[in-house]
Symmetry: C2
Subunit: 405 residues, 2 copies
Amino acid sequence: MGTTRDEQLKWRAKKVIPNAMYGHQSTATLPPPTPQFFSKARGAYLWDYDGNRYLDLMSAYGPNLFGYANEIIDAAYIDQLSRIDTATAPSHLLVELSERFVNLIEHADWAIHCKNGTDATSAALMICRAHKGRKKILFASGAYHGSATWCTPVPSGTVAEDRMHFIEYSYNDPDSLAEAAAEAGDDLAGIFASPFKHDILSDQALPTQEYAEKARTICDDMDALLVIDDVRAGFRIARDCSWSSMGVQPDLSAWGKAIANGHPLSCLLGSDRARAAASSIFVTGSFWFSSAPMAACLKTLDLIESTDYLEKIVSLGDHLRVGLGEISEGAGLNVRQTGPSQMPMVLFYDDDDNLDVPQGMAFAELMIKRGVYFHPYHNMFINASMTEADIDFVLERARQASREL
Amino acid sequence: MGTTRDEQLKWRAKKVIPNAMYGHQSTATLPPPTPQFFSKARGAYLWDYDGNRYLDLMSAYGPNLFGYANEIIDAAYIDQLSRIDTATAPSHLLVELSERFVNLIEHADWAIHCKNGTDATSAALMICRAHKGRKKILFASGAYHGSATWCTPVPSGTVAEDRMHFIEYSYNDPDSLAEAAAEAGDDLAGIFASPFKHDILSDQALPTQEYAEKARTICDDMDALLVIDDVRAGFRIARDCSWSSMGVQPDLSAWGKAIANGHPLSCLLGSDRARAAASSIFVTGSFWFSSAPMAACLKTLDLIESTDYLEKIVSLGDHLRVGLGEISEGAGLNVRQTGPSQMPMVLFYDDDDNLDVPQGMAFAELMIKRGVYFHPYHNMFINASMTEADIDFVLERARQASREL
């Protein structure tokens, strides 16, 4: 048993949890001082079990958009809990929320609400195939779309047949997309695309207009469905589907994480073109009809529509990016910051421009020791409860860390 | 647009929700007066949007075990919400809850917490296959294990490959199980079993000792894993895995629905034998580490361990079963009540002993009109907030309905 309370909890966890922790919140591959457990979350901050406070640049891997324990959103949740939550049928909030999404998201004509992002991407997969009774689905190599049998990034426990009709293409490469579509031929059911390239351990990339339009054109020409997996980036890029600014609308978009500011809710939105297929599949879950997360989502959408949260997180992200750029340049470090600044990905490279994971880990460790939860190889998430002073605090710590590196 | 508020909501839903409702809570195949929406839930009762109150025999299709809006459980949820819920890492409650399950459930040595019952059964499927790198899984024909691509009961949107390595057997038929295992041969990865036969539109059946032991013996002989899908029945049969009273322990058990009294939580429990395989797979979800549902689950487990809720729901179920038996006999109706009385399945048969769904629908309609939410073809769920007086109310309504039938 260790000396810190976090180590003691990890020691207990090892007995009753596989690997002491499963899934994306395991800290097994993060720098050793990274706490595995937190006792308190408020605004942009986390507290571990040993009295340390952290400015949390991960925002719960996305769900925290308006601050942990946001009083307005949580009050809506609690109020609804006293009326009706999980029951034998949904409340009117399911209709209200569906109408709200249809009004807010340009391509959407209908909604299915679920719990995990994977529920939404799995329903999208099924709807693509149901649309014309075809099988082939195109995915970008390295993209994460969830952890069901058909998409978990670790092959253990899956069989080859789970992905037999999947064809990979290279993100942002229209030729590669066209080749994959040609391989699928008249069995093409759909194309999955992340709103931008946000794979772990690699530079992020915004979509090119050519790539996005090619995906749309192929789907139109082949009567296949285009799916945007906006689970991770949804509402951090736009107050609409993330490809809206490029004028490219998908047939289906998957949402989750931030839509109810951390309350358990995901959803799949679709256009009328995909409605018949959506009506033909059977997907459900014990808690998919629960009203309290829907009340929290409605309140989150209020804040999305009525505040400048989006402009704020972009401005904070830019501030962080410029500051980190100056610091790394001053220290002679080879750092790349890619993708939207409000979803910062900070990767360290060596003098030969090869990814230097140990250096990134060392930097993250120095940051964590200084009270900043900094991720060495996954994109981070700015949230609207952060302030300029918080970013200045991160930059001050980064200056210290880069000196010590 | 209809004249009732429920009809008005359905009319709105039709525009923005596929089929006006998806999944198991759609009332499309239930008697027309069945409300699609409820405005309030308290204890054992639901209120629709037209001022009608219903004694709810469905208990949210399972999750309601200690009453809707249970004050003790909901207070624990709300209290935890103010500390930490969805964050960048879990709180100590994940460890505490895992320890609690390991102490309470005889076969369990570890736990993975998730959101949907389907998450738990999907993880079980993957662990079976990871255990020895084998592919074949045995399922009982007609059993429901969730709505992912590999298990949804409606084939639309799935491909044959999703179930290529599945072999069906007949529940409670040891010979059929042995034949299926022989067909799998040395590629047998695991056997899935419901704790009792609880398929829709058919009589329920308790497991025979011979069948349960055969499943265990085959898994031992072949080094395959035995999975009990206790999502629906968990904690309504025993304060342990549902096969514990027969002395048969699985390697994996899937839980959900009632474990947090309606708060979104499911889990997969496993024995040490399955730990290495469980440690090798990657499953996760944005809200799997959230603390508030875990606080609610711990409080629910307190009530499970410290109250006579189980004896009470069995007693109430017996009361209902005896009463309905007398009523149907008195009215000359051919009604079968099967399975555990606390999970009532009431099916109507014609004079030739053929299932008479229209008669069941007519009876359910008469019950619903009289303020009892009665399901014509799915098992129902007694909960511990019900009283003898509630059951007497159901029986009085059933007497009226059977006279009118």
